[in-house]
């Protein structure tokens, strides 16, 4: 009988030791599943005057997940409700923008908008598969350059009525590799681009 009890004690001790080993094993950092190579959105902001540099690198899947889960008030089913801006004479609804875009797109490579005044020059044009927005100060010290693939604009305007399909636009943007935005002024530079480097 004593041998039986001793055996039970040993079995309990062994069981305890196994439990400890198992719990330690479960707690040890496990290898994450090997994910495939994905695209990253990079943002760089540099301010020479302050000597500051900010770099943000986000996997596109993270941005996409955030967009998919965005609350209804910001994006309902991937659409942002815009409506008309105020009541002044320069209202431009998304529906108007959609019609204008359809006509501009069919015109091929061209300069859509060119505004030159004392302060700055604004040009919006199409070059190949890109819509280019270029804003420049006469001094040459400040410039903004935005490059948006045509497919992104198409996707953005693919919704009905006064809605923008942000989710579809971002899905298209994920295919882009290279610069999207470059801003340069006297004190700072901003660059946003997509590539596969992390």
């Amino acid at each position: 009988m004593e041998r039986v009890r001793t055996g039970r004690g040993l079995a309990l001790a062994a069981g305890g030791a196994l439990l400890l080993a198992a719990s330690a094993g479960a707690a040890a950092p496990g290898g994450s599943p090997a994910p495939g190579r994905g695209a990253w959105v990079h943002v760089r902001v540099e301010e020479e005057g302050r000597g500051s540099k900010v770099a943000v690198n986000l996997p596109i899947s993270v941005v996409d997940a955030a967009l998919q889960a965005a609350p209804e008030t910001i994006a309902a089913d991937g659409h942002i409700h815009l409506g008309r801006y105020g009541h002044d004479r320069h209202d431009l609804s998304v529906a108007d923008l959609r019609r204008a875009w359809a006509e501009l797109k069919s015109s091929g490579d061209a300069e859509f908008v060119s505004v030159e005044d004392d302060d700055e020059t604004v040009k919006i044009s199409r070059a190949g598969g890109l819509v280019l927005v270029h804003v420049e100060k006469p001094s040459g010290k400040e410039s903004v350059r935005v490059e948006v693939p045509i497919e992104v604009v198409d996707a953005l305007l693919s919704a009905q009525g006064d809605e923008l399909n942000v989710r579809a636009a971002f899905a298209e943007l994920q295919k882009r590799r290279g610069d999207i935005v470059r801003v340069h002024d006297e004190n700072s530079t901003v660059r946003i681009w997509i590539d596969e480097a992390n």
Binding site: A27, G30, P35, S52, A69
Partner: protein
Amino acid sequence: MLKMVLIGAVAVPAIAVGSVAATGVVVVDVKEPREGHHFVVPVPLALAQAAAAFVPESKTRVRIPEKAARYLPVARQALEALAAAEDGELVRVEEPGEKVSIRKEADVLHIQVDDHGEQVNVQVPIRLALSVLPEAGGRITASDAVWALQHARLTQVVDVQGKDGEHVTVTVY
């Protein structure tokens, strides 16, 4: 009979130590070289959780504002996507005398701050962050937060190195 007593004498402390080890221990290590002090405080997680459970719920519940709570699903989805993403540096901020870096390595977010010589290193397992994120209703209890440290086992979650040589570490075993 003597054998039974001996087995009991060994088994009871072994089971007690095993239970504490199985549920986790937080060890706070504080070194103050100027004063010559060195404190090591081990806190079993089960004990901390039990203590937290005795605190009145109204004092321990953190109510997330409704506006912020609506973004909790977004944060959860983003964290899950981050866990599945490749490793890399997510954020780097450099200013004169200050440096901040957040990078992802496997399941852990490493946050490093160097503020004019004072260094803070924090390691947050993404599973820990996910388990601390409140579910619908936007509420989390202190007891839940303590228990979430289970996901940080075998991790030095905090390492603070002061300018004057003070050194504080918090490790979860």
